[in-house]
């Protein structure tokens, strides 16, 4: 039973609670960095590294951090790890740093990371939190890779730089630009809806009632998806 639980924590993030497609968190980096497979993968791995580290540290500190200043504490921990990742990428993968640009420091405001800290890491053990970080991170990376491949394939006719379609047809560069990002995201999400076929699960809005953080939500302060109307 214990083992089964650990496995389910790990696989939760992959499909059932996929942060991008089901929880609709972290949309900005998802759309902005998936112009190609390599960029999407780079962003996914960077965010995963931050997510795992911050989940572990926050879980370790969960009994020390006072409840009413927890959000600033989480942000500080996350910002620290983002800076570390930023420096590592700059040193070892300058090309990736160039193409991710502004979105690398913006991992700090990625709702997935703060969301998992608030939803999971602050009330679960260190091992579970690490597993949750790995699962969620992999789900995020996988989605970014799928989106990146589709946009690169149609937009430039290549996958990870290797020519696939470019000999048969010219690339439709609009796919690698902003509209293509929105459209591919929309179609993938519709596909997930179609595959799950569970009509009760289809979200009609971003309201509080279907928010993944509602268990912890007191008055919605600090929530980007708060239902205002």
């Amino acid at each position: 039973m214990e083992n089964k639980n650990k496995v389910s924590i790990l696989t939760n993030g992959l499909i059932k609670e996929n942060p991008v497609l089901v929880l609709v968190l972290g949309t900005c980096p998802t759309l902005a960095t998936t112009t190609s497979l390599v960029n999407g993968f780079g962003m996914g791995i960077s965010a995963t590294a931050v997510l795992i580290c911050s989940n572990i540290v926050i879980s370790l500190l969960r009994k020390i951090i006072p409840d009413n200043v927890r959000i600033p504490c989480y942000i500080t921990v996350i910002a620290g790890f983002v800076t570390i990742v930023q420096l590592i990428v700059k040193a070892f993968a300058p090309a990736l740093d160039e193409s991710l640009g502004l979105y690398l420091p913006l991992i700090v405001v990625n709702c997935i990371i703060l969301g998992r800290a608030e939803m999971f890491a602050n009330k679960n053990s260190v091992v579970d939190s690490a597993l949750d970080g790995i699962g969620m991170g992999l789900g995020f990376t996988l989605t970014l890779c799928v989106m990146g491949s589709i946009r690169e394939l149609i937009g430039a006719g290549t996958i990870a730089g290797f020519p696939v379609l470019s000999r048969i047809m010219p690339g439709m560069s609009v796919m690698t630009l902003v509209p293509g990002g929105f459209a591919v995201y929309s179609f993938i999400m519709a596909f997930v809806h179609y595959m799950t076929e569970d009509k009760s699960k289809i979200r009609n809005s971003f309201g509080c009632s279907d928010c993944a953080m509602q268990d912890n939500c007191v008055d919605g302060s600090g929530c980007a998806n708060k239902e205002v109307a």
Partner: protein, 192 residues
């Protein structure tokens, strides 16, 4: 003066944050359900962007002076969080009317990537203080503009029965955003 006008127009139309640069997508999708909340959120974001730039730009100069420019991310996010909290407290006490109309949006802004984004990109593109302030103002107005347009489009999407089942909810909104951003691409090259 002309230079500042160009900065504002290019931030509103050509480099519109949600529609051309993928910044601030969460509130763009989440709070654009009706015109009133879209306007409130847009004005609050503009306000915070200008103030945050006014504070973070000198801080970056200070960080550079001490040779710890790499602390940018940590310092900026904490400054923005503290600033938003201060504005909220100040408004609650001294500007009750304004607080009632904008107050609810303020806490959401800390985690809005457009605010941190504008602060960092002002530094990265080497703007001077005045240019940075105009840049932030233009980014905010552009965000407000996109929010209002989106709220208008979404009011036509109320009746979901004509939409294919799989596309109901979030996907159709994203598709509408795709078409909007396609039309905003028409502004590209206006100031090249």
């Amino acid at each position: 003066m002309g230079k500042y006008l160009i900065i504002i127009v290019s931030m509103v139309l050509v480099n519109n944050y949600p529609l051309a640069q993928f910044l601030g997508i969460c509130p763009f999708l989440g709070v654009s359900k009706d015109k009133d909340s879209a306007t409130g959120m847009g004005i609050a974001v503009t306000f915070v962007m200008v103030l945050a730039t006014a504070v973070t730009w000198p801080i970056q100069q200070l960080l550079n002076k001490f040779g710890i420019g790499y602390m940018q991310t940590v310092v900026f996010i904490l400054v923005i969080a503290a600033l938003v909290q201060l504005i909220e407290m100040f408004m609650k006490k001294n500007m009750v009317g304004l607080y009632k109309s904008l107050g609810v949006y303020l806490p959401l802004i800390t985690t809005n990537c457009a605010v941190l984004g504008v602060c960092i990109s002002n530094i990265d593109s080497g703007l001077n203080y005045l240019e940075a302030l105009f840049n932030a103002f233009g980014a905010g107005v552009g965000f407000l503009f996109a929010m209002l347009l989106m709220a208008g489009v979404r009011s036509k999407l109320e009746d979901q029965s004509r939409i294919p089942k799989s596309f109901r909810g979030v996907p159709i909104v994203l598709l509408a955003a795709a078409i909007m951003s396609l039309s905003f691409m028409g502004f590209g090259g206006m100031f090249s």
